[in-house]
């Protein structure tokens, strides 16, 4: 569904930000991209909706070569929610903000109304529909930005740092929504620094460092490899650190598993 083939990219000549990226993401996958600052994560995801075009190699999304396709055409299939909602909110009301993309994509009028209504309910924004997006709190603005992309129902969803500035309750709401969208068959890609969030909720992950993909596989394998994580300036999840401290082999990111291990240790002592 998404395919990177020997992709190179640089903003300045001689300083490659992406170095020979090869990557396949299948339909319906839910995955996280993690890695230190400056690893090239945002540059990578901007290739998926064609905001950036590879300088060498190619990127194919739904069998379209991004080099030969406009951002607008790709955007119809690839929803991209930026990190900072203030970089996209501009309309007088939340409702109009959500309509923006629908109008750009030429949806018929009755369908626009219907979709706006649905997404306002879904993201619990109905009471703000006639308010200015600038009057809302940070977390609410983030939800409006998300709604303004989800409304046109893209089959691929990219979220750049969705958990920043969100309290625990909002994070749980977010993961519920992500899971729901994923169950509907959408491919969801999340770029984040929030390792605990990935460990708890995201089944697959990719580690990037210095423009390369270092690891790609099930979260359970990757996030329990503390050597790999530390080499790439990532802190292992707390459960993994506890597992290592207690000599549990292999370490685990599963809370229940860890608890039963600890129980066994305690029982042995008694």
């Amino acid at each position: 569904m998404i395919e990177f083939h020997n992709v190179f990219f640089s903003y300045q000549p001689g300083k490659d930000i992406l170095k020979n990226i090869n990557l396949k993401i299948n339909k319906g996958e839910l995955l996280a991209i993690i890695g230190p600052n400056g690893a090239g994560k945002t540059t990578l995801i901007k290739h998926i909706n064609g905001l950036l075009k590879p300088q060498k190699g190619y990127v194919k999304v739904l069998d379209m070569n991004t080099k030969e396709t406009t951002v607008a055409l790709l955007a119809r299939h690839v929803g991209f929610v930026f990190q900072n909602p203030d970089h996209q909110l501009f309309a007088e009301t939340v409702e109009k903000e959500i309509m923006f993309a629908l109008i750009n994509f030429n949806f018929p009028e009755n369908e626009i109304k219907e979709r706006v209504e649905r997404i306002l309910h879904e993201l619990d924004l109905i009471k703000y529909r006639n308010k200015s997006p600038f009057m809302l709190s940070g977390g609410e603005r983030k939800r409006v930005a998300l709604a303004s992309v989800l409304c046109y129902d893209p089959s691929i969803l990219i979220l750049d740092e969705p958990t920043i500035g969100q309290d625990f309750h909002q994070k749980l709401n977010l993961i519920d929504l992500i899971n729901k969208l994923n169950k509907e068959g959408k491919t969801v890609i999340i770029v984040t620094h929030d390792i605990e969030f990935v460990a708890d909720f995201i089944p697959k992950c990719i580690i990037m460092s210095e423009g390369r993909i270092i690891a790609d596989g099930p979260t359970e394998e990757i996030l329990t490899d503390s050597k790999l994580l530390l080499e790439n300036y990532l802190l292992p999840p707390q459960l993994v650190e506890i597992s290592i401290a207690l000599n549990i082999n292999p370490p685990t990111i599963n809370f229940e598993k860890l608890v039963s291990f600890i129980r066994k240790i305690i029982e042995r002592k008694e």
């Binding site: 406009t70 607008a72 955007a75 930026f82 970089h87 996209q88």
Partner: protein, 251 residues
């Protein structure tokens, strides 16, 4: 075109090392020349006279970028002057001459100002303004505004990317529709600038900005021989140009 090319980069050419006040003299004198003359040949000479400074300052590449960047406006200025003047005078030769002069005047101004800003560090600029007895608060405001131009350019790019990701197409539509398409770019840009300004003000106050009436400075400026030589050269060139008006009556 790369918008980040206008950023000042620390280099150590002879022009960079000049006292900013000396360069300010250059800026003022040559701006007067470009505004004073209307003869396209003279204006072109004024424009050419900035080239050696760009070469000495090793900033030719960036200087050329800013000239290239302004080409659109130059064409715009030419066309509007042409239409406006031809409408009122109906004289074709005069119209062409004045329109060309206006376009060259604009290039010269761009050239002079970009040389000044490309070769003067923001700190130097600030220091020279303080030496010229401008109030510190205004100097700082000006300096910060300059400092945030590249940040703003970067942010504008992010906003453009975000709106393109929501299906905004700049290429489509007639001129009015195109202008309308800048609203989703400008509003977030203004709002986030205001938000940032507020944060900076808070950060400055929490670091005791304005706590005492007098303040000390880390760097101070001193004029020396090379600065005076540069100023004298500028004055000589300035007078030479002016004498064209006196002796040959070229406007």
């Amino acid at each position: 075109m790369n918008i980040f090319d206008f950023e000042y980069k620390r280099e150590s050419s002879i022009i960079h090392r000049l006292d900013p006040r000396a360069k300010l003299v250059y800026l003022i004198l040559f701006t007067i020349l470009t505004v004073y003359f209307t003869n396209p040949i003279i204006l072109f000479l004024v424009f050419l006279s900035s080239l050696p400074i760009a070469i000495l300052g090793k900033i030719v590449k960036k200087w050329a970028t800013s000239i290239k960047g302004s080409l659109f406006f130059i064409v715009f200025i030419f066309i509007f002057n042409f239409i406006g003047i031809f409408w009122t005078t109906g004289n074709f030769i005069d119209t062409i001459t004045i329109s060309i002069a206006m376009a060259i005047r604009f290039i010269s101004l761009i050239s002079i100002f970009s040389i000044f800003f490309l070769s003067t560090s923001p700190e130097d600029l600030m220091q020279s303004m303080i030496k010229l007895k401008l109030p510190y608060e205004y100097v700082l405001t000006f300096n910060m505004a300059m400092r945030f131009v590249p940040t703003l350019a970067k942010e504008a790019q992010t906003i453009i990317d975000a709106q393109k990701s929501r299906g905004l197409e700049f290429e489509k539509g007639n001129i009015f529709q195109k202008v309308k398409k800048y609203i989703p770019i400008l509003i977030p840009l203004i709002i986030s600038s205001l938000r940032r300004a507020e944060i900076i003000a808070d950060a400055m106050e929490s670091r005791a900005f304005g706590a005492s009436k007098t303040r000390s400075f880390l760097y101070t400026l001193n004029m020396n021989k090379k600065d005076f030589i540069f100023i004298i050269i500028c004055i000589i060139v300035f007078i030479t140009f002016l004498s064209l008006k006196i002796f040959f009556n070229i406007q």
